[in-house]
Symmetry: C2
Subunit: 316 residues, 2 copies
């Protein structure tokens, strides 16, 4: 149902990643076409349509949101220094750190040009603030990496900034361009933020194989990078002395051996940390759905509800 | 004379680099307070005042321009991978690549928040386009690094994008917020672009010690990084076979020995390449000054003219 608008978003993305410097679209395409689910622009599109918006600004804003996300992914690859991320060779390992940084900058700038096209200063305010908050969250996570004293509240702050801020902005810009009242803007801001938190917590659980413990090629990124995500925070709360020493070694000192990751998964499972993380994700997804209750039911509202279900169902 | 406005710009810069994540202002301060000459924001301020602008948007835009410049410097350090740049340890060698990338992103996002404060969609258009062009120019220079076939026209394209685009945007936003006619906007856009080209060419000559051949701690960055700048382009046009082999070795293959830099300087001097580069800089600075002729003479116009003179005089 969203196919028409999302096709327009994809076309715009393809057009705006263009440059006379061939390396730019080449590298941008590598990451943009890496099978991204386009969840963030879908939120913008579906929210705009749910509100009966008839203009075209939502398409530009949706593309801008995806560009911000893509720029963040490119810069994350430089930050994380892994040989494998999200199951494939990161762009910086193919083209180099410098190239990834600069193409990220290019996409970031193009995102703002798309926002200018959309023509709403209020939407620009929301998205530029989100971009600053994302960077703050990333720096916060970097500082917290390897710190096994990271608590649940601090971790939720980090992902509220690094992940949920963009989901929330993606949802909030639609009522803004549609000229809807403050109450609806707040409801969609809540929807986006809670959906973003749910999305990140599911990602965190999946990085340890989720409930099926399917340790495929997409797992272990966070562990290798020493990121103290919610599963680890929860396992640490219930840890024996020996387990605490293990987390200290693999996270704080990055003393990781061939069997370390499997042991980490076993400890997480023993304490039910993945189930508890997914339970938290379900709770945030439910809050996201509840926030939509003020809107009259229509197929677009249904789509947003289904998105909240899909985000959690990925884990099962 | 510009002191009042520039003080306001500095205060705004100090305020907007703030963050609850302490590493951010710490790292940002390292680079922002590194004795930057604030040339770009000075252009915005002086141009606005020359036009009789009485509002406050120029202060926000000037700070935004400096933040874009600072973000670019932070990301350049990651790109260039030197142990010493601009005569000091680059931020990424003090805090790490990841930190420099993310704080650059933060400042970039904050730049756009400042533009939103200024409230002009047209200024946002000009500055977001400039940011994209800068990234394109940086990628272009990266691709051209070590390529001794880089010609003069291609090199001028590169610096037109990586350096002059921001100078030009810094000048152009002032007539925009002051609501001045297209003709004045074009004149200031020309002023900024030509000043930016002059500035970069002087930098290029100074990186080889300029006319005084003062090979202090601020020299040799471009050489070490294999950047084929205008002095090298000009020396290559007049190169003997042996000299061409030298440039091929030190630039394309980065085979640099302890004496390579001194030899490079000697070759540049033998061909008058530094003089020719500075002559080109003077010509661009003159074109910049000429572009101001349509404006009535006042102290602010004088300041912009003096800035064009200062930019070139640095080399003597």
């Amino acid at each position: 149902m969203a196919a028409g608008d999302m096709h327009a978003v994809d076309a715009l993305i393809g057009e705006r990643m263009g440059s006379p410097v061939p390396l730019i679209p080449e590298l941008a395409r590598y990451i943009i076409e890496a099978g991204g689910k386009r969840i963030r622009p879908l939120i913008t599109v579906a929210a705009a349509r749910m509100l009966g918006y008839e203009g075209k600004a939502h398409v530009s804003l949706a593309a801008a949101v995806e560009f911000i996300h893509t720029a963040t992914l490119l810069h994350d690859d430089v930050v994380d220094e892994s040989d494998l991320r999200r199951g494939r060779t990161p762009a910086n390992r193919v083209w180099g750190n410098a190239q990834s940084v600069l193409v990220g900058d290019f996409l970031f700038a193009r995102a703002f040009m798309l926002m200018v096209d959309a023509g709403s200063m209020d939407a620009l305010h929301v998205l530029s603030r989100a971009a600053a908050v994302i960077a703050e969250g990333e720096v916060h996570q970097l500082v917290a990496a390897g710190n096994i004293a990271t608590g649940r509240a601090e971790y939720m702050d980090i992902i509220g900034a690094k992940t949920a801020a963009l989901f929330s902005a993606a949802a909030q810009v639609s009522p803004i361009v549609a000229g809807r009242p403050e109450r609806e803007e707040q409801a969609l801001e809540t929807y986006g933020r809670e959906l973003g938190l749910a999305f990140q917590l599911v990602d965190d659980a999946l990085d340890y194989g989720g409930l099926t413990a399917d340790l495929g090629k997409n797992t272990g990124d966070d562990f290798r990078e020493g990121k103290v995500t919610l599963p680890v925070v929860l396992a640490l709360q219930a840890a024996s002395g020996e387990e605490r020493a293990f987390w200290e070694a693999v996270m704080a000192r990055k003393e990781q051996e061939a069997t370390s990751f499997e042991r980490a998964v076993a400890i997480l499972k023993a304490h039910g940390a993945l189930e508890a993380t997914l339970a938290a994700a379900r709770s945030h997804a439910q809050t996201a759905k509840d926030a939509l209750a003020i809107f009259p039911r229509n197929p677009w509202r249904d789509a947003l509800e289904q998105l909240a279900e899909f985000v959690v169902e990925r884990a099962y």
